[in-house]
């Protein structure tokens, strides 16, 4: 049973029924996640985030999630009731969101929010939860946990906020972490630091990571495998190392090549960056 995937998604579709017609955010995505780091890249609106939300059962009201199969460690997520899905959230599957400035509750202290995430899933006294939270703050390399515990979100910097976010989302010890653009809102200088902290925790706990990003360089250096998404569909799945591999170019999907071609390269300056060409046939 040990080689059973953590998460299996088969032909996932997310539709929004609007007065002007059906918007298909995800149109048939399939993948299996083991204890690995899986990157999902794509442009805005390619369905990356909706994939993460669908796994968590957090698609907002008019949205509808369909799939041929969606299993977490063999448990069927599609037939599970809302309550059971909620119990999975945080405890088994968790998510780090984009901007700590907006995704932390402004009127609660950082500590309260981390401790709360622990106490939803574990029977623990408030003291025990606090000790756990302080240990978790230390694990995300915050130097004065006791001081930071008492701070409000507006009193911490972006980088520190994102560490708090990671602490909050990992304290209940989930197996799967969805990181939805976790560093997009941060300064470039702290991006790598945050990724390193997240990567260390994910690796040492043997978790599965779904890393959602539009940054090809980040995905390439942090993930084992990459799914390239366009228009709600997977264009291709490839080992992350092959993204930069010139010799593997011939095997690449034209869209992946297109994305790569849009990246400026310091070592090989180009007079004009390529414009991304999209082919409607890819979505057929």
């Amino acid at each position: 049973m040990s080689d059973q995937p953590l998460l299996e998604v088969d032909n996932l579709r997310v539709n929004f029924h609007t007065p002007t017609g059906i918007v298909r955010a995800v149109r048939g995505l399939s993948f299996a996640l083991g204890r690995e780091r899986l990157g999902i890249v794509g442009e805005s609106g390619s369905g990356k985030s909706m994939t993460g939300r669908a796994i968590l059962d957090l698609i907002p009201h008019p949205g509808e999630v369909l799939a041929d199969g969606m299993r977490y460690r063999g448990q069927d997520l599609l037939t599970m009731d809302k309550r059971a899905r909620r119990k999975l959230r945080g405890r088994h599957i968790s998510m780090v969101m984009q901007d700590p400035k907006f995704s932390l509750n402004p009127v609660q202290t950082v500590g309260q929010q981390i401790a709360e995430a622990y106490r939803v899933h574990h029977k623990a006294s408030s003291r025990e939860a606090k000790e756990r939270s302080l240990a978790m703050l230390e694990a995300v390399q915050i130097r004065e946990p006791a001081r930071v515990y008492e701070l409000y979100p507006h009193e911490v910097s972006g980088g520190m906020g994102q560490r708090v976010m990671i602490a909050m989302m990992l304290i209940a010890e989930p197996d799967v972490l969805i990181a939805d653009e976790p560093t997009s809102a941060l300064d470039v200088t702290v991006q790598l630091q945050i990724l390193k902290i997240m990567d260390d925790l994910v690796t040492s706990r043997g978790m599965g990571l779904i890393f959602i990003s539009h940054d090809l360089h980040l995905v390439q250096s942090f993930c084992d495998r990459v799914i390239v998404m366009y228009g709600g569909k997977a264009m291709e799945t490839l080992p992350a190392a092959e993204l930069a591999d010139e010799s593997a170019r011939a095997r690449r999907h034209p869209y992946t090549l297109g994305l790569l071609g849009c990246l400026p390269d310091l070592d090989h300056p180009k007079a004009e960056l390529a414009t991304l060409k999209r082919d409607p046939a890819w979505l057929a």
Binding site: L56, L58, L88, G90, M95, D99, N105, V107, A172
Partner: protein, 348 residues
């Protein structure tokens, strides 16, 4: 431990600074209020001397009264006298009631205060949960019901609701008492201390009088409350919809919190910040006195008192009342600011 002690001292200094700033703002506002009421009195085309001596007094009597009133003194001197009198609790004498305006207001304001307070309480206790539920079930039937109730509360005139209420609950069903604050039987049982009859009765152990006063109060307060419910539920709904769209709400759901906790602990706790201001505004509005409600229920409140004074050009009463309303506004504002500060760590 030393660090903890230091941080508490720091908190003290911080709050002290906030209090100083608030109090100086209040002082300036009160000064402005006094200046405005004083100037209004001076520019009104009503001759205060005529109000005292009548329009057929001979010139020398008129002149003596003018000197007695200090109207020959320069304007700044008159203003200083005015401030002095206001602070010693002297707002002049009402022409209409032939009593000191201060005494009038002492009986009239508590009547409005108890009506406004209960009305606001009803509005908050029913309107806010209504608004929250409407926001959670946005666009579905609980939202539609809340919308209809809100619309009714808004658009049906207060005097009609008041009269229908009296007809049904007083005349037909006899569940509540009729107009007035208390039945004649109980009138002399309660010695006015605070002027709020229910409070005075409770303090003096006159429970029969207490319940009588309550049954007088409950209908007019409900009429005001209906309006308040409509307003509160609409405002709460829009604040909550705004909060429920925030990222931190999604984060709370990701943590695995129950929907109840997400709504009532996370979203509502944030919506309270703007709600405090709205509640304070609506409370202040009711504290001015609600003329229609007070008239229908023969409620001897501030609204009726001021309207009567205005219609009879009873300037002392009008200005005294204005001053009291202004002071109450300042106080409620200060209070709501402080609650807002407690509710929102970003403003501390």
């Amino acid at each position: 431990m030393a660090a903890a002690g230091k941080s508490w001292a720091g908190h003290g200094i911080h709050w002290g600074r906030i209090a100083t700033r608030e109090l100086s703002t209040v002082a300036i506002t009160i000064f402005g209020l006094l200046l405005v009421t004083f100037l209004i009195a001076r520019v009104m085309p009503i001759d205060p001397v005529l109000a005292v001596v009548g329009d057929r007094a001979p010139a020398d009597v008129y002149e003596r009264a003018r000197l007695d009133l200090g109207l020959d003194k320069p304007l700044w001197h008159q203003f200083a006298i005015y401030i002095g009198k206001v602070f010693s609790g002297d707002l002049g004498t009402s022409v209409l009631t032939a009593q000191k305006v201060t005494d009038d207001i002492k009986t009239v304001f508590p009547a409005t205060l108890e009506l406004a307070t209960l009305g606001t309480l009803i509005g908050v206790l029913i309107g806010v949960p209504f608004g929250i539920i409407a926001a959670v079930y946005q666009g579905r039937w609980p939202d539609q019901i809340a919308r209809v109730v809100g619309l009714l509360g808004y658009s049906v005139p207060v005097f009609w609701v008041g009269l229908m209420g009296l007809l049904l609950f007083y005349a037909k069903l006899g569940w509540v008492a009729g107009p007035g604050r208390i039945s004649v039987v109980w009138q002399d049982y309660v010695t006015p201390v605070t002027g709020i009859i229910m409070l005075d009765a409770a303090m003096q152990g006159e429970w029969d009088a207490f319940w009588d006063a309550f049954s007088h109060l409950v209908l007019p307060a409900s009429v005001l409350g209906l309006l308040s419910i409509a307003y509160m539920s609409r405002m709460t709904r829009s604040f909550m919809i705004n909060e429920l769209q925030q990222q931190y709400v999604i984060a709370a759901r990701v943590k695995g919190l129950s929907e109840f906790r997400v709504v009532w602990r996370h979203a509502l706790r944030n919506a309270i910040v703007p709600l405090v201001t709205v509640i304070a505004l609506s409370y202040m509005h009711l504290l001015e006195g609600s003329v229609l409600t007070e008239t229908i229920f023969a409620w001897p409140g501030l609204g009726r008192y001021l309207t009567n004074a205005l219609l009879n050009a009873d300037m002392n009463a009008v200005l005294g009342g204005t001053l009291v309303v202004g002071a109450v506004f300042i106080a409620v504002n200060l209070f709501s600011d402080m609650i807002g500060r407690l509710a929102d760590p970003r403003t501390r």
